[in-house]
């Protein structure tokens, strides 16, 4: 673990971040190799693109979740925020027939608003843990999503809105390109900006961060707002994918997002975790589901297998770390 060579350039350091996640990556590779051997459909361009597309919603939710977990927090409301922001977009665009651009702005704005609300509840009302505040907003947002159309789904979005979630450039789904852009952006944000570093600092030691002159509350509000924004963006992708907004969209997605972050090597206690690890975590989940689908494993067995693979994937990482400490 220690870099004996001493001086490491900034670039190397980023690469090290990659290598640190080797465990999860090994898990992903092992999983993929196994699936390639088990079914000839797995390693096809078509299928890989499928996986990317299928993982994109979770990838977007997970990156927001990563931010909150880095600060030793959590955001249970992402799935509900996804629902309310897309429902409101549906009302604005489909029901009221307003401009799709405006609709997208509404979607993102609503997401950011609920995220901001989470941040404010946490910092201004000083609720003891984001579990409470986001559990609250999770219920409130879901309730609102159900109320606005009396639980009816909204279909018939204009092409412009469906574009991101639906279209391809060549064989590559645009939703996955979006994910890549977002991830690169967050990678830069977390490693190259002061605020990014503050996020790690707060998660590592909140009191030390505060005494270092960091405006902890401000950073937390930013973090939760971003998580809400990412949930809305995930919603936008989802609307394109399923051609509709519906009030139960994103139900219990928070678990998958958290799992991606943790499988990707982040720590629940804050301060540890990377953007790329999270992506690998999300891909592991997506590949696993895809593989089980291709193998036509029945749903009940899928559950058991998923449980088993999650434990194994993380265990491989534990083994690797233990080995590297020898």
């Amino acid at each position: 673990m220690l870099d004996v060579a001493g001086k490491v350039s900034a670039e190397k350091k980023i690469a090290k971040g990659f290598l640190d996640k080797f465990g999860a990556l090994i898990g992903l590779i092992l999983l993929s190799v196994t699936l390639t051997l088990l079914t000839d459909k797995f390693l096809t361009l078509d299928n890989l693109m499928n996986i990317f597309r299928q993982s994109s919603v979770n990838c977007l939710l997970a990156i927001g979740m990563l931010l909150t977990i880095l600060t030793a927090g959590i955001d249970l409301s992402v799935g509900s925020i996804l629902a309310i922001s897309t429902m409101l977009m549906g009302i604005v665009v489909v029901k009221w027939g307003m401009n799709p651009i405006l609709g997208m702005a509404v979607c993102l704005g609503v997401g950011a608003f609920f995220g901001w609300l989470n941040g404010i509840l946490l910092t201004k009302l000083r609720l003891p843990h984001p579990f409470i505040s986001t559990l609250g907003t999770m219920n409130i947002a879901r309730g609102l999503a159900l109320i606005v159309t009396a639980a009816a789904p909204i279909a018939g979005f204009p092409y412009m809105i469906q574009f991101v979630g639906r279209e391809f450039i060549g064989p590559v789904p645009i939703s996955f390109l979006l994910v890549i852009i977002v991830y690169v952006g967050f990678h830069l944000f977390l490693t190259r900006t002061a605020t990014g570093r503050y996020i790690y600092a707060i998660g590592g030691n909140k009191e030390a961060a505060r005494l270092s002159g960091i405006n902890v509350n401000r950073v937390l509000v930013i973090v939760y707002t971003m998580s809400g924004l990412m949930a809305a963006l995930a919603g936008l992708v989802m609307v394109g994918r399923v051609n509709s907004a519906f009030p139960l969209a994103g139900l219990s997605y928070e678990l998958d997002a958290i799992a991606a972050v943790i499988i990707g090597g982040a720590s629940f206690f804050g301060g540890v975790g990377t953007v790329w690890g999270t992506m690998i975590g999300a891909l592991i989940i997506a590949v696993l589901r895809n593989g089980l689908n291709l193998l036509n494993v029945s749903a009940d067995f899928q559950m058991a297998v998923i449980g088993f693979v999650i434990i194994t994937a993380v265990f491989i990482d534990v083994l690797r770390q233990r080995a590297s400490k020898m």
Binding site: K41, T44, D46, N47, N50, R53, Q54, V57, L146, A151, P153, A155, Q162, R166, M238, G240, R241, V242, N243, S244, F246, P247, L248, A249, G250, L251, S252, Y253, R289, N290, N293, L294, N296, S298, A299, D300, Q302, M303
Partner: protein, 291 residues
């Protein structure tokens, strides 16, 4: 077409985690055997996992079957995947729950609204105008159950029966029990209960039994547990759909579509109103399927 020349049909259901869907599965399997079709049946871990169902659908299309038989959890959500299937010229059939998509081969099933209406009628037939009833609904946003509740409510109200409580119990037996207990606190004088599925009906029944209240309870679905309860004289009735037929006919019709035979756009698999009179028969049929 598979190497062995058998046509390949993929059946994507809302879930396989309940008996109802196991019956659909049994029907599809039986058809596979009888008609020599290669049938694969899959479903997400719960009906709420809408995204998982879409993925299943996409992954099924990747495998290029000769036909798809789908029961969408949220009808509108499957349309983009259906379009993908269309591009690959894979015919799509819907079972149990319809979707508004012009290029579907057919829809086989009953409609939940009708089932709800029948349930309402059955319940109303045991009551008189002015009686109070309660409705136990599924989780809000569960379209199928919403439709059942809507149908039942309309009929009940049309017959002059008062719906004094309508509460969700998330398709959970224990929650239904709690909800019923609570409703009884407020409305000890209700004369009947309609439940959007059998599990919740059985939960509600428990609450009534505890209060020694003997009033009619009507469920929906026709699970074995419900049939047993009906035979024991507890549950008054259930609106049974024909999941087995949906599965069987789904595959059968898919085969027809593959062979480019003419298929009717709407195939009704019918509902049975089950009461004590015909419960045994239905039970024998269902039990026969599970062996």
């Amino acid at each position: 077409m598979k190497e062995d020349g058998r046509p390949k049909v993929m059946v994507i259901l809302k879930t396989l985690s309940s008996q109802y869907w196991k019956f659909v599965e049994a029907g599809a399997k039986e058809a596979a055997k009888k008609l020599n079709v290669d049938v694969t049946i899959v479903g997400p871990s719960s009906e709420a996992k809408i995204d998982e169902q879409i993925s299943l659908l996409e992954d099924a299309i990747t495998q290029e079957p000769d036909a798809l038989v789908v029961s969408p959890s949220q009808p509108v959500t499957v349309i983009p995947a259906f379009e993908m299937a269309k591009k690959k010229k894979i015919p799509v059939l819907l079972v149990d729950t319809d979707a508004d998509w012009d290029d579907k081969v057919t829809f086989l099933g009953t409609d939940n609204y009708t089932a709800g209406k029948k349930g309402g009628e059955q319940l109303a037939s045991m009551l008189k105008p002015g009686d109070k009833v309660a409705i136990i609904a599924g989780a809000l946003g569960n379209t199928a159950m919403d439709h059942r509740v809507k149908g039942a409510k309309e009929v009940l109200q049309a017959k002059g029966i008062k719906v004094v409580a309508e509460q969700p119990a998330d398709s959970d037996k224990e929650k239904a029990l709690s909800v019923m207990e609570n409703i009884l606190q407020k409305n000890p004088d209700i004369k009947g209960v309609f439940s959007a599925n059998d599990d919740m009906a059985i939960g509600a029944l428990r609450a009534l039994e505890a209060r020694k209240l003997k009033i009619p309870v009507i469920g929906t679905d026709g699970t074995i547990e419900a049939l047993e309860s009906i035979q024991a004289g507890n549950l008054s009735g259930t609106i049974a759909q024909n999941p087995y037929q949906m599965g069987y006919k789904g595959v059968e019709t898919a085969l027809k579509a593959i062979r480019k035979e003419k298929v009717s756009k709407r195939i009704d698999t019918g509902v049975d109103v089950i009461t004590r009179k015909n419960a045994q028969k239905k039970m024998n049929f269902l039990k026969g399927l599970l062996d």
